[in-house]
């Protein structure tokens, strides 16, 4: 049985239901979600922005505090050139339009931040992953 794409307004209402503080903007095939998140109780709050184009792309940014792209000459890991976060492996369909942003992307943002913080204080990325180049 074919798994159906989730209509974008369902993405929106699912986000609103599970994360009521989330600031949402929907226009046709474009959904933008803004909110605050922290991976551990002693972490600072991070403002994030998710830009979702239905069946096209999803981009995740941390707006504040700004993400460090370099530490002691070592480049930050799992960041795209535009500064958005590399959260999943598209070819393996870990996320696509059949899956809910709130169930997949949001927890991954937190997980990414968790490993980002550890990278920041130890110099090592401990979250694993794949580097295409």
């Amino acid at each position: 049985m074919e798994i159906k794409d989730i209509p974008i307004h369902i993405q929106r209402s699912a986000l609103k239901a599970k994360i009521p503080e989330c600031d949402l903007y929907l226009s046709k095939n474009y959904l933008r979600a803004k909110g605050q998140i922290k991976p551990s109780p002693r972490s600072c709050w991070y403002s994030y922005e998710i830009k979702y184009k239905f069946k096209e792309s999803v981009k995740i940014f941390i707006l504040d505090p700004s993400i460090k792209t370099e530490l002691n000459g070592k480049k930050a890991e799992h960041l795209y050139k535009d500064g958005s976060l590399c959260l999943f492996f598209p070819k393996a369909k870990e996320f696509n339009s059949t899956k809910l942003i709130v169930d997949y992307i949001i927890p991954w943002v937190s997980l990414w931040l968790f490993f980002y913080e550890i990278w920041l204080v130890t110099g090592d990325w401990k979250g694993g992953g794949i580097h295409p180049n």
């Binding site: 922290k38 927890p107 937190s110 997980l111 968790f114 490993f115 550890i118 992953g129």
Partner: protein, 376 residues
């Protein structure tokens, strides 16, 4: 380690893990035990002096009270072991006993190569692991197996000591807490209780204070307050708090108050709890500048701790933690934390709507689905 949604527990867990990272690990513990059993065997096989007498060998100091900490920037621990010779000190000259130990150890090529005589001990250097200070001593009276007279070969006198008595004094105080705050947190999080959480808060606090002392006096170790002073003060000012944070806070505040109310200029006396006529802090009477260093250290520790207690975000926290307790222990604690999160990915790891990660499912939590961070 714990994946916790509680800030206080998170701090507690990090402190415990850091102290654990700096203590004598099980491998070295086993090596130390076999080292001193080897010494005991070599002594008792002596065809001369030691062959005729009963000896007992046991650790003293930080090993015996569970407060070992690796010296900052060094690879070797400083450990002490007592050779309790079951002869009365009143029948012997102090240097005669000391010389017998030196003589017998030097008859063994291995020990001879690694030994170095100090004023009250023979130091054996186990490269890469530890220095073992072998401290000989004799019975004071036949009916008390705790009391010991230790030869000081420089001043040629017997020094009264009671390492076993000190050990039970300290351990009894530490054991006022049955279950630590962390053990309870492990249970509440429904995960198997890890060994490091079981060490008593007093022991952890002493380790952390010593770790901080080692860094604070790194450039001038000769100015540092001795471990016995810090350990005795900590135990005396301990009120049985179940968490490391409260214990640390309580001890440092009380030492500070003690100084500020009565002893801003004149050093206080610190009677040995098991031998009250001995002042453990007598060095301050001779060298008042060391007392001033001690006060400055306590003030710094107090203000650093006040800052650390606040939540500043992980980056600032890391800076404070590394500065207070050392970079290596902090990094080890963070690696352990990463490990536990990785083990839980796709296996119970979730987040609260705030993003805070948790290790098991609760109401309104969202599971973290398996993923592969992909991209540069």
């Amino acid at each position: 380690m714990l994946i916790t949604s509680d800030a206080y527990t998170q701090l507690e867990d990090t402190l415990a893990k850091m102290a654990e990272a700096a203590e004598l690990d099980q491998t070295r513990w086993a090596r130390m035990k076999s080292a001193y059993e080897g010494i005991s065997k070599w002594l008792s096989e002596d065809p001369g002096f030691f062959g005729e007498v009963e000896i007992e060998i046991y650790p003293q100091g930080s090993v015996s009270i569970g407060t070992t900490t690796k010296p900052y920037g060094k690879t070797e621990f400083d450990l002490d072991v007592i050779i309790h010779i079951k002869l009365l000190s009143s029948d012997y000259e102090p240097e005669a006993i000391f010389n017998e130990v030196v003589r017998r150890l030097n008859e063994n090529e291995t020990y001879q190569k690694m030994s170095e005589s100090k004023s009250r001990c023979v130091r054996l250097n186990y490269k890469g692991d530890f220095h073992l200070d072998v401290v000989p001593g004799c019975m004071v009276v036949v009916y008390d197996d705790k009391l010991i007279d230790i030869p000081d070969q420089k001043s040629k006198i017997w020094l009264r000591s009671c390492p076993k008595g000190y050990q039970s004094w300290f351990i009894d105080i530490a054991n006022r807490v049955e279950l630590t705050f962390l053990e309870k947190a492990f249970s509440a999080n429904k995960v198997e209780i890890e060994e490091y959480s079981k060490k008593k808060p007093l022991q952890r606090a002493v380790q952390l204070i010593k770790m901080d002392r080692n860094i604070y006096f790194n450039e001038n170790p000769e100015n540092a307050p001795a471990s016995i002073i810090l350990t005795t003060l900590a135990a005396q000012f301990y009120d049985g708090q179940p968490s490391i944070s409260e214990t640390f806070e309580g001890i440092i505040s009380k030492i500070r108050n003690h100084i500020q109310t009565l002893y801003i200029i004149k050093p206080f006396k610190l009677p040995n709890p098991v031998n009250p006529s001995e002042n453990l802090a007598d060095v301050w009477d001779d060298k008042p500048e060391l007392y001033r260093h001690f006060i400055a250290f306590i003030e710094q520790l107090y203000s650093d701790w006040q800052e650390l207690k606040e939540s500043h975000g992980i980056e600032k926290e890391a800076e404070l933690m590394k500065g207070m307790f050392g970079e290596n222990p902090y990094i080890k604690a963070m690696e352990a934390k990463a490990d536990v999160v990785n083990k839980r990915r796709g296996n119970g790891l979730g987040i609260l709507p705030s993003g805070v990660m948790i290790g098991h499912k609760i109401e309104k939590s969202l599971p973290v689905k398996p993923n592969t961070f992909y991209g540069d």
